[in-house]
């Protein structure tokens, strides 16, 4: 939506075009220098929003031909080095969307902590667990669970129940999984019936 508005403005359709946005936005955008009128301006945030939303993807505004006035560039603003931005962005991501759960395996002396969000589905998750703890699960089927595996991946959900990994759709799993435990096959045999 915003991109096409920008394009049409540049082609000077503004005069006849019906557009969204407050009147006077066009002028504000072209006019880089502030004037006395602007001092109580809250329309500035509109201008900012326009620009910021186009550019949160961290790409620079494509510049149109024949646009002589200085553009409201937002590349490189605020002036923070990308190293620092990336470090904090990683953290924000982690805080907002990381789903960290502890993983233990029966008989192993250490725990692992993993972020479920980095896996796209059960297949990847199980493969990662296999690599981490050096075991293999064999096949998984709806009916029989992890038949024939020495180790079986299980998880504790929000209600405190222990479930087989793979029983519920992935998204539901991510939001309900509290911790993972790789059980010895013998202990887990009864779990196929829970589902």
């Amino acid at each position: 939506m915003e991109k096409s508005e920008q394009h049409e403005r540049d082609l000077n359709f503004a005069g006849t075009e019906l557009r969204l946005g407050l009147p006077g936005i066009d002028d504000l955008k072209k006019q880089v220098q502030p004037s006395a009128n602007k001092s109580n301006k809250r329309s500035l945030p509109d201008m900012n929003e326009n620009c910021t939303s186009e550019l949160t993807g961290n790409t620079s505004t494509p510049q149109k031909k024949g646009h002589p006035a200085p553009k409201a560039q937002v590349v490189g603003w605020p002036p923070i080095r990308s190293f620092r931005k990336n470090c904090l962005a990683k953290k924000n991501e982690a805080e907002n969307s990381g789903v960290y759960v502890k993983v233990s395996m029966d008989g192993a002396p250490y725990l692992r902590k993993i972020d479920l969000n980095i896996y796209k589905g059960y297949k990847e998750l199980v493969k990662a667990l296999e690599d981490m703890f050096k075991f293999s699960v064999g096949g998984f089927s709806e009916r029989e669970g992890y038949n024939g595996s020495e180790y079986v991946p299980t998880y504790e959900d929000k209600d405190g129940d222990w479930m087989l990994v793979g029983d519920v759709p992935w998204d539901m799993f991510i939001s309900s999984c509290k911790k993972l435990r790789i059980m010895k096959g013998s202990e887990a045999r009864g779990m196929g019936c829970v589902v």
Partner: protein, 607 residues
């Protein structure tokens, strides 16, 4: 080369007799001899002169002094790597032991300059490899360095001791590996905010097996996995190690093991200060507090890249001695900060995130009476973010930290009154950088431009040499700067001013101006012309997204032949558009003794 040259020995008694005027068989040799003597004496004296400004003055006295100075200069400082060619530098200075080179302008850090612009280390390392076999130290800032360059460095300088790379790129861990293995006398390897490629080479393992002479190992920016056991062994066999800054992949458990091996550390970067994904079930929590207690000499603490707040109390034992604390990667609250900062009475340098809010800054102001440098970075570096710090924090700092010399403050709201108060409370300010992140934001209480605040800073802070301005600013702000900013060397301007007059005031009023970087401000060709009298005295001028035309820049290039005038497009434009459009997107110009460079990429036009 000339290291082993024998100096003619001087018999001072003889000299006295001859100066007495007695003509003798050596009469015809009288005239050059005292000069030679003088030059020798001078050289012996000049060895003690280290300031490069003084040395430059010395070299202007006469040819003899020029020669003596060039023979005795040990550190070569080149503030712009394109201002002089390597050949010219090594021809003049024959006995350099230490080289400082700076490359790209600062705005390149913010992606304003297309990549691969230049500032290559290669020609310098090639030239110095041949000319200065006794080179011991190299300091590079914003240069492009390749692994090949590092390999050449490692093999060319047998006595190499110190390498400091700041904001550099182009190399990877394979280059570091060569350095580690070949530089047997390495004392300092400091990698600060560089972009280092992960070549999956375990460079830590490449240090020689025997005891090292390492005093400083800083690699917090190297985001590559390392073999921890080998790092631990390296630290164990580095008895002189005083500065160690770990990357974020080092866990707090690993930190513990390193700290107990190196209690002599003075500077520590803690790495993640968190767990990695491995947490031993049977292991107890590492007694990290005791490790800190054992480090009695610790004065500088940084890192905390993924800090777990529970571990903050571990650093209490060292707080009382800390002079420098960098929390700028630690997303902590005001309460969490307070628990630490209340012990930090000796703190002089403090970097922090705005997550601590104004309240956190008030706590800093209450305790850190000796504070000299403060930097407040935003957790959320976007224009329309919340902005947890404001004029309240700034005011508190100004009232509590009267000895403040340097401040960098990111915020979303500010008032002129707070800035004026700081100008009065902190007369020792040398560096004042205020970044109001929302562009063109006025004083949020009065709605006025921020002119008066910055005006007060330049007027009252008589030692000010560096200034960065932001917020809603008219030409008046620039009038103040030109009128009062007589010592200003570095000025950063963004989204400010009304007209050409703004830039004119500054160029005409600030005689010490060296580095001027301007973006997105309405200054045009007429303003550019007003600096003609001064550009040869500057290190550089950067202007991007202003109102310059190619014609205007061309005129400068004609009038000042020793100035290199570079015009660039941003990386979003095509080549074809160049011919159509006379407007200049990026102007970067600088004086040079050797004319335009020959390594300019295609997107750069040199006028």
């Amino acid at each position: 080369m000339s290291e082993d040259e024998e100096k003619p020995s001087v018999d001072l008694a003889d000299r006295n007799v001859r100066i007495g005027g007695a003509p003798g068989s050596g009469g015809e040799f009288q005239s050059p001899f005292p000069d030679q003597v003088l030059e020798n004496v001078l050289e012996n004296v000049l060895i003690f002169l280290t300031s490069r400004q003084d040395r430059n003055s010395v070299s202007l006295v006469c040819k003899s002094w020029y020669r003596a100075e060039s023979m005795t200069r040990r550190e070569l400082f080149i503030g712009n790597c394109y201002a002089v060619s390597p050949r010219r530098a090594i021809e003049r200075f024959r006995r350099i032991r230490s080289l400082v080179l700076k490359g790209k302008p600062r705005f390149a850090d913010f992606n304003l300059m297309p990549p691969d612009w230049g500032a290559h280390f290669a020609p310098w390392v090639t030239a110095t490899a041949a000319a200065y076999p006794w080179l011991e130290k190299i300091y590079l800032k914003r240069m492009s360095i390749t692994d090949i360059d590092l390999a050449l460095l490692a093999q060319s300088f047998p006595n190499f001791k110190e390498l400091v790379l700041v904001c550099c790129d182009g190399f990877g861990t394979s280059g570091l590996a060569v350095l580690a293995s070949k530089c047997r006398h390495l004392r300092v390897l400091d990698l600060i905010e560089d972009e280092v490629a992960d070549d999956e080479v375990d460079w830590i393992s490449c240090f020689p097996e025997n005891e090292t002479r390492l005093e400083s190992l800083i690699f917090d920016c190297v985001d590559c996995a390392i073999n921890f056991e080998l790092l631990e062994k390296l630290v164990a066999r580095s008895p002189f190690l005083k500065k160690l800054r770990l990357n974020r992949l080092v866990s707090i458990g690993q930190l513990y093991h390193l700290m107990i091996r190196a209690p002599q550390l003075t500077h520590l970067g803690t790495g993640s200060f968190s767990h990695t994904d491995i947490v031993a079930q049977t292991d107890q929590e590492p007694d990290i507090a005791s490790a800190f207690s054992a480090c009695k000499s610790l004065v500088c603490l940084s890192g905390f890249r993924e800090i777990i707040a529970d571990y903050i109390p571990a650093i209490y034992p060292v707080c009382a001695n800390l002079t420098s604390l960098n929390f700028s990667y630690a997303n902590i609250t005001a309460e969490q900060l307070k628990s630490v900062i209340c012990h930090c009475h000796k703190l002089q340098t403090f970097w922090v995130l705005d997550s601590v809010h104004d309240e956190g800054l008030e706590a800093v102001a209450a305790t850190c009476k000796d504070l000299r440098e403060l930097r407040v970075f935003p957790v959320d570096a976007r224009e329309d973010s919340e902005g947890p710090v404001s004029e309240v924090g700034l005011l508190a700092i100004s009232e509590g930290c009267r000895k403040l010399q340097s401040i960098l403050y990111f915020c979303q709201r500010m008032t002129n009154n707070a800035v004026i108060a700081m100008s009065r409370n902190c007369p020792d300010l040398v560096v004042f950088r205020l970044c109001i992140m929302g562009r063109h934001r006025p004083d949020h209480v009065t709605g006025e431009p921020m002119d008066e605040g910055f005006g007060a800073i330049v007027k009252n802070c008589k030692k000010l040499t560096r200034l960065a301005i932001s917020g809603l600013l008219s030409d008046r702000a620039f009038w103040y700067i030109g009128h009062f900013g007589k010592l200003i060397r570095t000025l950063s301007v963004a989204f400010a001013g009304n007209s050409d007059m703004g830039l004119k005031y500054v160029l005409e009023g600030c005689p010490k101006l060296q580095k001027l970087e301007i973006r997105d401000s309405p200054f045009g060709d007429s303003a550019l012309r007003s600096g003609l009298h001064h550009y040869y005295n500057m290190r550089f001028l950067w202007m991007s997204s202003c109102r310059l035309s190619r014609q205007g820049c061309q005129e400068i290039a004609w009038r000042l032949p020793r100035l290199v005038v570079e015009i660039m497009r941003g990386h979003t434009r095509d080549r074809e558009e160049d011919e159509m459009d006379d407007s200049v997107e990026i102007l970067y110009m600088y004086r040079s003794l050797d004319g335009p460079r020959d390594d300019a990429p295609t997107f750069v036009s040199i006028l």
